[in-house]
Symmetry: C2
Subunit: 163 residues, 2 copies
DNA sequence: ACCTACCGGTTGACGTGTCAATGATGCTAA
DNA sequence: TTAGCATCATTGACACGTCAACCGGTAGGT
């Protein structure tokens, strides 16, 4: 398992071979997991995970509507990304955009009935896929560990975000 | 931490709220980690992780060349994806393609000197980024756990791949 | 010989993501 | 007042990924 490397863990610049193997396995597997879920969602409901995130936010919003900027902040997207995505969703009839009465130059994003139905139909298979691909794959201990690992990685990302 | 849900863990169809929170945290954080590494590599060396994978494979290949199909199999990409990517890399002078002498209708992918230098310059900062963003973020136990989690998720992906 | 089926590789269409530039509109300070 | 300036949102250019269609050539069966 471990390697015959000189110690000095603190001063080392580069990952060891073991660490690198785990890194590759980890990042590739999580990426594969994400795209597998994406394709499950797609074939179950013709929605992407992006669509799902937008529809979820709108479904839970009061009046099933939000201003574009709020929506972007809520789901953690750049405005540009959201704008492109809303354009595609609008073409498919899942949402509508109209000028916002309260805020000047603001755009209100509305859930259409087609969008609400698409979301409703997607929820159950999506959650079931999460259970099958993630929850069922891991022991309860591993699920807890996964949460802690995610938290630690997130913390490090936040720390290094000051660059 | 835990929820006041009816037991019956075996028969449950959907993830609990706790499980769902961990899932979201996990998948979003790993995705963010991937894109952070992508942008580090980009700003350090003007390469994408795709470029890096291709250049790594070619660098380690005999004669710094491989047939397109072998290369695709080696890095686990679809042929179409590789073909598109090679087109972009060829435009940037990182690789060259020529007809393969031995295999009819085969395409040989060659590393150019520019490609070899780009890879050489990218390696160290890339490995350092992996250390900073992944290895340094976790305890040794967590790194081991991450490897086990990846293996378990991969196994489940493989099992469900018969559908 | 001919038809077919496969194989290696490319291409086109489209969805998705980032970055930088562009409107459009209100706010503030000379 | 008006010259900036920030803010909300969109747009265009491009990289990347998937899917399905395509092309050219070889191999097998009849």
């Amino acid at each position: 398992m471990t390697e015959a490397t000189p110690g000095r863990r603190g001063g080392r610049q580069l990952p060891t071979g073991d660490e690198l193997r785990i890194w590759r396995d980890f990042i590739e597997t999580t990426a594969a997991l994400g795209s597998r879920l994406e394709s499950r969602l797609q074939s179950d409901s013709s929605l992407s995970t992006g669509d799902y995130a937008v529809l979820l936010a709108l479904t839970e919003a009061e009046g099933q509507a939000m201003r574009s900027s709020e929506l972007a902040a809520h789901i953690g997207w750049e405005r540009s990304r959201l704008s492109h995505h809303l354009g595609r969703m609008e073409r498919r009839g899942l949402i509508r955009r109209q000028e916002c009465a309260t805020v000047p130059r603001g755009a209100e994003v509305l859930l259409t009935t087609a969008g609400a139905e698409a979301f409703k139909g997607a929820t159950f298979p999506h959650l079931r896929a999460i259970r099958e691909l993630f929850v069922d794959a891991l022991t309860p201990d591993q699920i807890v560990a996964a949460g802690e690992i995610a938290a630690a990685l997130r913390a490090q990302l936040d720390v290094l975000n000051r660059d």
